[in-house]
């Protein structure tokens, strides 16, 4: 990707809310760079859930996700003096987390253990989604949801690391193509292509459950 297209992409993706968020982040980052270590806690509190979410959805293991999230924060804390503000802090932090996770997944490619979080059914959006994907009521619904969750994670783990990352970042974390391209250091076209291919594979893998 050329510099011009990168710059164009950044301009397009920089919505006012995101710009505000980036500005407030850069202020905190400057404080940390100036020696205010406690200011880093603000960044941890703000992004820990999102970082944990991406790592968890990539690994499908809550213990690994916890370790890797902590590692990502420690790494970003240690190298925050090198952060020059060329991208937003959020993108930079995500890149650190994704790279750490990919490195971990490459090392432990042959052993995959699922350790899944429980779906929060108190949330109305979740309840609606559960109702949409299951055709049972009562006690059976919980078991069905659990089974669907496991099948989905299995199907995700069958994808290559790159395809899994794109699907996770786009469909679960809701990042834009441009942001994913920045995090994964590839073009927007590559992101779209990978996303399309990954969804095709997932669809094929989960087809029996959709047809029930």
């Amino acid at each position: 990707m050329t510099d011009a297209s990168k710059a164009l992409g950044k301009t397009i993706s920089a919505s006012p809310e995101r710009r505000l968020e980036a500005d407030s982040d850069s202020e905190v980052v400057r404080k940390v760079q100036g020696g205010d270590v406690a200011a880093f806690d603000q960044l941890i509190l703000k992004y820990r859930q999102r970082v944990y979410g991406i790592v968890y959805n990539l690994t499908s293991n809550r213990e690994d996700a916890s370790d890797l999230t902590q590692e990502a924060f420690i790494k970003s804390f240690q190298s925050i003096h090198r952060f020059q503000g060329q991208s937003s802090f959020f993108t930079w932090l995500y890149r650190i987390a994704v790279n750490s996770t990919l490195s971990h997944l490459r090392k432990s490619r042959l052993r995959t253990f699922f350790s899944l979080e429980k779906i929060n059914e108190d949330d109305p959006v979740s309840r609606e989604l559960i109702a949409a994907v299951t055709d049972t009521n009562g006690a059976e619904r919980g078991a069905h949801v659990r089974e669907l969750q496991e099948r989905l994670n299995e199907a995700l783990q069958k994808l290559s690391i790159r395809h899994r990352t794109v699907v996770t970042l786009f469909e679960i974390d809701g990042l834009s193509h441009q942001q994913i391209a920045e995090i994964m250091d590839c073009s927007v076209g590559t992101v779209r292509s990978r996303l399309h291919y990954a969804k095709q594979l997932l669809q094929a893998e989960l087809q029996p459950y959709f047809n029930r």
Partner: protein
């Protein structure tokens, strides 16, 4: 059947449901504690010594000019200091019995130098090839049969060793020239005196301008210094015959050195 379900489940819905897989509040409490511990450990952690190498490499790449300049300055200062104070350089220390002449010459004698044993050597190869060099001094036999022999002390200046090595080479050169003296008298054409077999390394016969200058100065100070002085053969001849500087340089320009031969212009 679920009465709420209107459409068949989709992949997007299923993936969105993963957003609801969130950890509990206890998890975040434990997470925060562990992260705090790791953060503190990262602050006080002492990095292993080899971690400094990549940083040093990057620093060197960024500041290579400045580092090069400083290193050159330090090396030049080091050599200059040792040269000025006459200290022996570790890299040029003569091994074993290596010694050079502390020429003991009589005051009334013209100091002449000849090499009795040893091989010509470059200044940088002193420690390797100049194993034993004895220098004799006599008053009546310019190039042969010197009676008084002495050796240069081990802590002699490097320049003294260089001069002694040059003495040796020059002496061999002189022997070669003397052997062809008959031929030299036949005319003023340039003649080549083949020294193959007499001098292993032709370049050993060369002296640096700085060494010549130093030798000349020392020759001038030789009589005042008494018995101990180091002089070169050429300078000694010049002192003996009182030749002028111009003539001396003219003589020097007559000598040429090739890869395997030395040419002398008459």
């Amino acid at each position: 059947m679920n009465p709420d379900r209107k459409d068949p489940p989709t992949l997007e819905n299923l993936l969105r449901l993963k957003r609801a897989e969130v950890p509990t509040a206890e998890f975040w409490t434990r997470f925060e504690t562990e992260l705090r511990q790791r953060q503190l450990a990262a602050i006080v952690e002492k990095k292993p010594w080899w971690c400094a190498f990549p940083k040093a490499y990057v620093f060197t790449l960024r500041h290579n000019r400045q580092i090069g300049s400083v290193a050159a300055l330090v090396v030049a200062s080091f050599f200059g200091y040792h040269e000025f104070h006459g200290g022996a350089l570790p890299g040029l220390r003569v091994s074993g019995q290596a010694a050079f002449a502390s020429v003991s010459a009589r005051q009334d004698a013209v100091p002449e130098v000849a090499v009795v044993s040893g091989k010509p050597a470059f200044a940088t190869d002193i420690s390797r090839s100049a194993s034993v060099v004895s220098v004799s001094v006599a008053s009546n036999s310019p190039r042969t049969g010197f009676e008084k022999a002495a050796s240069v002390p081990e802590d002699a200046m490097p320049s003294a060793r260089l001069i002694a090595a040059n003495f040796e080479a020059a002496h061999l050169n002189g022997q070669g020239s003397a052997g062809n003296a008959g031929g030299f008298q036949s005319g003023f054409e340039t003649q080549t005196a083949s020294l193959v077999g007499q001098i292993d390394e032709p370049l050993a016969a060369m002296t640096t301008p700085a060494a010549e200058h130093r030798s000349r100065l020392m020759a001038g100070a030789g009589p005042a210094m008494g018995a101990t002085s180091i002089v070169s053969e050429r300078v000694s001849e010049r002192v003996a015959s009182h030749i002028s500087d111009d003539r001396l340089y003219e003589q020097l320009s007559r000598y040429g050195v090739g890869a395997t031969e030395v040419s002398i212009r008459f």
